[in-house]
Amino acid sequence: MSAAARAAIAVLACVGGACLAASPPGVVLTPGAPPAGVVATIGNGTPKVTAKVDPTAAVFRPDPGLAALGKRIFFDARLSEPRGTSCAACHDPARAFAPTLSPAALAGPRVPQGSRPGRFSLRNAPSLLYVRYVPRRHFYQDDDAPYASPFGGLFADGRADTLAEQARGPLLDPNEMNNGTPASLLSKIRGTELAPALARHFGAAVQTDPEQMVRALGKALEAYLQSDEMAPFSSRFDDYLRHRTPLAPQEARGLALFKNPDKGNCMSCHTLADTASRPERSLFTDFGYDAIAVPRNRALAANRDPGHFDNGLCDSARRLRWPEPEQWCGYIRTPGLRNVAVRQSFMHNGVFTTLRDAVAFYNTRSTDPGKWYRGARTFDDVPAAYRGNININSTPMNRRAGTAPAMTEAEIDDLVAFLRTLTDAPYTGLMPGAPAAQR
């Protein structure tokens, strides 16, 4: 079923034994990068391109004035309903722009609280550091691959094509900043100094046209998120990349496990290039999607309904009219792992509270599913109809129940030790167990 649809995507640009050369105009997938050749268009506009995204090709030169305005907007707590919740409330600059969870969130669903007490985001919030490298949505197919695969797009389900488009989501989400409609947001902004500031960049119409105002807000926020302060590359791992500053033995073992296709195999999705001095090659994501079936977070309000499931990419696929969108149900975009060690909850639904659990889940999801699904059905957060989409192939998630896992407990510790080296310098004190001097 899904294979047929994937094949359909694969052959759109191929006739007989040969694929047509890229001829249509290219598409720029990351700012400043050369246009990628387009060999086909999937659904209502998603390009299938001739080359995988190369983050080192991106060039970020946002208008400094616009980036500064975007930064003001980012921290402006007036832009919520009720007021008091800025973008920074969920993307805490003191925590690598990842959420610092409120006591209510920590005691409850472990996802950020919105502007209204008791209302929580439907998903966990990512760190916004390095988000500028996430490319626009596209498909790519290696010539050895049987099918094309989707990459890029913002949010865990890729529903936004750009950062500017993404900004609309939390501003209007009733569980987040709760601004209702673009019109109500406009009326709120019109009373602030932000309106004329935005008008200077985008024209007077932004002060009267709600949609134009929302787009302007998005562009300003995008400029800020594309600024260099959002990509510090100041971790100990970056020192290792740039200067070969040695990792501690346990961290080095963790790095080896991270790369080892028979062990952690993490780099098959969380890509890195540990011999490359340019840290952009080590963003720890390939921007692709995977269905790993993390356990259901029963503390999420929406999950009180047993019939509710967060199906991830397939909701976007339907809207984008990709062939057989159900094949993408359960797929979530692979997040980068930089600064993962300062997070307070893990996975797209916040189900885990420790990094060690998040790592250990991969190791024993298949060998000891009872440990993770706790009496519930295995893969309990994916509808039965879509369980065929779950990745049961990739090491270490491919072993049969009851068999030995790919890694030992000590090796899990090694992996965690390595992941802690990905923490940018300002945040190392936030890592659990960090020396007091770093806090």
Binding site: V11, P146, Q327, G388, N393
Partner: protein
């Protein structure tokens, strides 16, 4: 026999006859090599070592072409008529030729010693820089293919007992090889379009050299490489140390780094049977394939130098290599096979259709108890896809095969199929009577994900097939075929890790395969 100085002192009683045979065979092997074929010197007498023994074809002191320093690679491969072809790659440049005079082209080639008789090898193709042609990469990421080495060859007599060149002993084919190494997909991936830069200098990340050493230590009698020797297609970015300094493109330097250097021990150990992979199609490493490995005589028309000839050079006639005692392996070139079923009027369909007729004839040879078929792309095996049912076998080949043989796919007489392309190991026994199928594509390039374990119900590689059992893994490794002890026929296939750990043993009988383990094999 490996020392050329010793060779000079060898007796001469039967040398002339053997030498003459060598000369004829070597001359026959030359087609359109660089330089002047009309001045071919393969049969030219070699200056005697001493005036007292003028008839002795011994190496003159200081035969420059035979200096071991010139020798970049030496091996023996089995040709399309079961002949053993000695090949060398030499960096030797004759001084006079360098000055522009027309020396006989074979003067570039070293002396080959067979059973004490020395004979100069024939030039297969001389050094040359090929102009830039269209490649699989953008023009900006391509470059002309430079081959500053010459390739020499000679067909060895079937009864040769010993052979050497430039001090290096050449392995000779055995009438009944007992151990056949099977490997594929061995190169180090440098591919800009995939943003994939395998750390070629890291023996863990690209373990082909270690794998070759382990396999060589098992003393194979024959090596079967099922394609994709070459992966270094694009420039390593300057900031990546792991592939820094690595050659790229399709010239000699890339072939040396991807194959001839890491595989040198294996080439010294046993003759090779070479199968062409999709990385050796004309727009990729096809030029090197024809210069170095293709068992047929070299010709401009099938050199991949001119894209206008790709339609011809991307296909090769199948042939069979005898493995002794009723066993043979049929070699098939699927380098350019696409991913989709072919309409019957497609030129590729027509080309493959004709070639599968040949496969049928070869498989029907009388006296064969075990016929193996080998090509690069799996036909009745899988391509794993994370989060989805495995993709089936190659649909282009299936469409041709089913047109000829319906859902039997293979012609009568094929018992086993051996493939690469998918970077894992698979051993499949069918309940539907199809040939047992083995994939051994885990030879060094980046691995694929594993197949799901167990396979989802009803998962099949092609309509009409029914899988009885499948054994698989996704670690680096290789397969060793061992001949079943008489009176049994057939082979036992053993899957090994890079370090030589035995992971599974599969005994073949006719078209069935019985493995001691099923499902996923943990490393």
């Amino acid at each position: 026999m490996g020392n050329p100085k010793e060779n000079r002192r060898a007796g001469a009683a039967t040398r002339v006859g053997v030498g003459a045979i060598l000369a004829v065979l070597a001359t026959a092997a030359v087609l359109h090599g660089c330089g002047s074929d009309s001045t071919d010197a393969a049969a030219a007498p070699v200056a005697p070592a001493t005036p007292a023994a003028p008839a002795a074809p011994v190496v003159p002191a200081g035969d420059a072409a035979s200096a071991s320093a010139n020798l970049q690679a030496a091996w023996v491969e089995i040709g399309d008529s079961n002949q053993a072809i000695a090949r060398v790659i030499t960096s030797y440049v004759a001084p006079a030729a360098a000055a522009g005079s027309a020396l006989p082209s074979n003067a570039l080639c070293p002396l080959l010693t067979v059973d004490g008789v020395q004979q100069r090898m024939a030039l297969r193709v001389g050094a040359g820089a090929m102009p830039l042609r269209t490649t699989a990469s953008a023009a900006a990421d391509s470059k002309p293919s430079d081959f500053p080495v010459s390739v020499c060859e000679a067909t060895l007599p079937a009864n040769a007992a010993a052979a050497s060149v430039a001090g290096q002993t050449l392995p000779l084919p055995k009438a009944q090889p007992q151990r056949v190494l099977v490997l594929a997909d061995t190169g180090c991936r440098l591919k800009k379009a995939d943003n994939a830069y395998q750390p070629c200098s890291d023996g863990t990340a690209w373990p082909f050299a270690a794998l070759a050493a382990t396999a060589a230590g098992m003393n194979p009698d024959l090596v079967l490489h099922i394609g994709d020797y070459h992966y270094r297609e694009n420039l390593c970015p300057p900031d990546i140390a792991g592939c820094q300094g690595t050659p790229w493109g399709y010239g000699w330097d890339t072939w040396q780094a991807d194959l001839f250097k890491p595989a040198a021990a294996l080439m010294a150990k046993a003759p090779w049977v070479v199968v062409r992979g999709n990385h050796e199609e004309c727009a990729r490493a096809g030029q090197g394939w024809f210069r170095f490995l293709d068992p047929r005589p070299y010709s401009d028309a099938r050199s991949c130098n001119d894209p206008a000839n790709d339609g011809n050079a991307n296909y090769s006639e199948p042939y069979a290599v005898a493995l002794g005692t009723g066993s043979q392996v049929i070699v098939f070139d699927s380098a350019k096979a696409g991913k989709t079923a072919l309409p019957t009027n497609d030129p590729q369909f027509i080309a493959y259709q004709k070639q599968f007729q040949t496969v049928g004839w070869l498989a029907a040879r009388p006296g064969m108890s075990t016929t193996l078929f080998t090509n690069h792309h799996p036909i009745l095996a899988f391509a794993p896809v994370a989060g989805n049912n495995p993709a089936p076998g190659n649909l282009a080949l299936q469409s041709v095969m089913s047109n000829a043989n319906a859902q039997a796919y293979y012609p009568v007489g094929v018992h086993v199929a051996l493939h690469g392309h998918v970077h894992d190991f698979q051993a499949i026994n069918f309940a539907s009577g199809h040939p047992a199928t083995i994939v051994s594509g885990n030879g060094g390039d980046n691995l694929d994900v594993a197949l799901p374990d167990p396979l989802p119900p009803g998962t099949i590689p092609a309509p009409g097939t029914v899988i009885d059992k499948i054994t698989h893994h996704s670690s680096f490794g290789f397969v060793m075929m061992e001949r079943n002890a008489s009176p049994a026929t057939g082979w036992t296939f053993k899957a090994y890790s890079v370090a030589g750990k035995l992971m599974a043993t599969c005994v073949q009988t006719s078209n069935t395969l019985a493995c001691d383990k099923t499902g996923f094999l943990a490393p």
